[in-house]
Amino acid sequence: MYGETGAAMRAEFAALLRQHRVQQRLVGTTAEEREELGGLIRTYRQSVLAWLGEAMRAASPLAFSNMPPAQPNPFRSVGVSSAHLTAAGELARALDLARQQSTARPASTDELATPSANPMADRWRLAARAAALAEHDTSEQVSAQMTAPQAQALVGDVAALTQALVVLDQRYKNTPGWEPLAQSARLGWASLAAALDVNLGQPDYAVDHLGWRPKTKVITGSARPGILGVLQAQHNLVIRMKSAPNATNLRLVVDSQRLVSAHLAPYAARIDERLAGRWAERAETYYVVQKQLREIGGLLGKGGLAVAEGANAVARLKALPHDTIVEPRVLSGFQLLFKRLDNRIADIIEDGIEQGAFFKRVTLPRIVGGGGELVHPVRERFVPVTSATDLEVVRTARERLRPKDEVPMSTPGPTRVDLHSALIHRPTRGGAVDVPNI
C-alpha cells in the first residue's frame, strides 16, 4: 500500500531533517571514509529520485492545471494560452534532470538490504528501501485507478519530499566528494509551486489505500476455537468465492450467509445495537435474494469449496455457547468480511446473468395436461428475452445487497504533518537535544 511505503519515506526524511551538524555524524576520522559514506548516501538518494520521477509520471496524466483555460473570446483577457505548463509538469522535468545529471547509480538490492553501521546512513537506506517498494504502489496499473484529487495528493507528497532533498542537499554539501543536485534551486521552487498548486484543489488522501497488497490466503489448519473458527471459515469463504459458483452452490452460500447473519446479530447486540440491526437487515436481504434465486438456474461454475466453508461457518456458530462475549475487534472483522462478500455476490449475480451463466426459469402462461386430444397448441411459443435489469434478483442485489459506497475517512495522517514541520524545523539554541555533544 502506498500509505505504508509513503509514510516510511516521510518518517525517515523527517528524522534526517532534524539532524544538524552532518559532518560530525558521518563518523570517520579520515576524509576518505567520509567520502565513502557520502557516496553511499548519494546512491540511496538516487533511488529516492528514481521513485519521485516515477510517481510524477504516474500522476501526470491526472495532474491538471488549476489555471483557467484560454478564453475563446479575444476581447476578454482571462486565462492564458500556455495553460499546458503546469507546476507538476515542471517538477517532473526538474526531477528527471536531477536524476540524469547525477553520476551516482541507484542503490543495489544488497545495499538496500544491508544495515549500515552509521545511524544516519541507515536512515537514508530505509528511505531508499521504502522508495524502491513504493515503485510497486505507483505503477501504471495503480495509476489507472487513481482519481485526479488522489493524483494531486501524490504530487503534494512528491513536492514535500523533493523539498526535503533540496534542504538536505544544502546541509551535506561539505561532505568530501559530494555532488549537489542539478539545478537544486529550480527544483526547490518547482516543488513549492507544485505544492501550492495542489492545495488550490482538494487533494484526496485515499491515495494511501492504493497500491500493492499482499495476497490474502486461505487460513488452513484445524478450526480455531470459538468465534475465531467462525471468522476463519467466513474469511476462507470470501477467498473461495473468487471463483464463480454455479447457481445451486450460490444458493447454498446465500443460505449460509442468511443463517450466519441472523445468528450473529444477538452476539453483536450486546456490544453494538446498530451493528446488530444491520446484520438482522442483512439476513432479511439474503432471505429475499434466496427466494428470488429459486427462479435462477445455471450449471456453469463450481463453488463446492465455498459451500463447504459457508457450512463450516454456520456449524461453528451454532456450536458456540450462548454466553460468549464477542470482542468489538472480531465484530468489525465480520463486518469487513460481510461487506466484501456482499459485493462479490452482487457481482456474481449481475455478471452471471449478463454473461449467460445463469438463466431464468420461465413460467409458461398455461400448460395443458391431458384434454383427450393428441396435439396441444402451446399458448406462447416465444418468451421475450428480458434484459438483466428486469430480473427481481438483480434489482435486489443492486439496491439492497451491494454495500453503500461509504467514502473512507482519509486524513493526511501524522507523517505528512511531521515532514512539513521538519522542513521548517530549527535547532533549538542552547539545549539542542538532537545534536551530539562535542
Binding site: 447457481a247 445451486t248 447454498l252 443463517l259 427466494k291 438456474g297 450449471l299 413460467t363 395436461g369
Partner: protein, 99 residues
C-alpha cells in the same frame, strides 16, 4: 423430461418453496430451502419454475402434499433412494419447524 414429470416436479418445488416461506424460524426455513436445493441438484438444475401463490398456509397440509408429490417423482425414473433422502430432509425440517 416429459410433461407429467415436469408438472409433478413443479408442484413439489412450489410446496417446498411455500413451506420455506411460511416456516416459523429462520433455521427451519433454511432447512426447507436446502431440501429444495437438493431436489434441484438431483435434476441437474433442470427444473420448472415454482409458484407459491394461492397455496394454503397450513404447513401440515403443505407437508403432506409435498411428500406425496416427491413420492410421485419415483414414477418418472428418479432414483427412489435420493427421493427418500429428500423426504427425510423435509421431515427433519418439519420437526425443526414444529419446535
Amino acid at each position: 423430461m416429459l410433461l407429467p414429470h415436469a408438472q409433478t416436479l413443479a408442484q413439489a418445488r412450489s410446496y417446498l418453496a411455500a413451506l420455506a416461506d411460511q416456516a416459523s424460524t429462520i433455521d427451519a426455513s433454511s432447512a426447507y430451502e436446502r431440501a429444495l436445493i437438493e431436489l434441484d441438484r438431483i435434476h441437474g438444475d433442470e427444473c420448472p419454475s415454482a409458484d407459491t401463490e394461492g397455496l394454503t398456509e397450513d404447513r401440515a397440509i403443505l407437508l403432506a402434499v409435498a411428500t406425496s408429490a416427491l413420492e410421485e417423482l419415483e414414477q418418472y425414473g428418479v432414483d427412489p433412494l435420493t427421493v427418500e433422502l429428500v423426504i427425510a430432509m423435509l421431515d427433519d425440517a418439519y420437526a425443526l419447524d414444529g419446535t
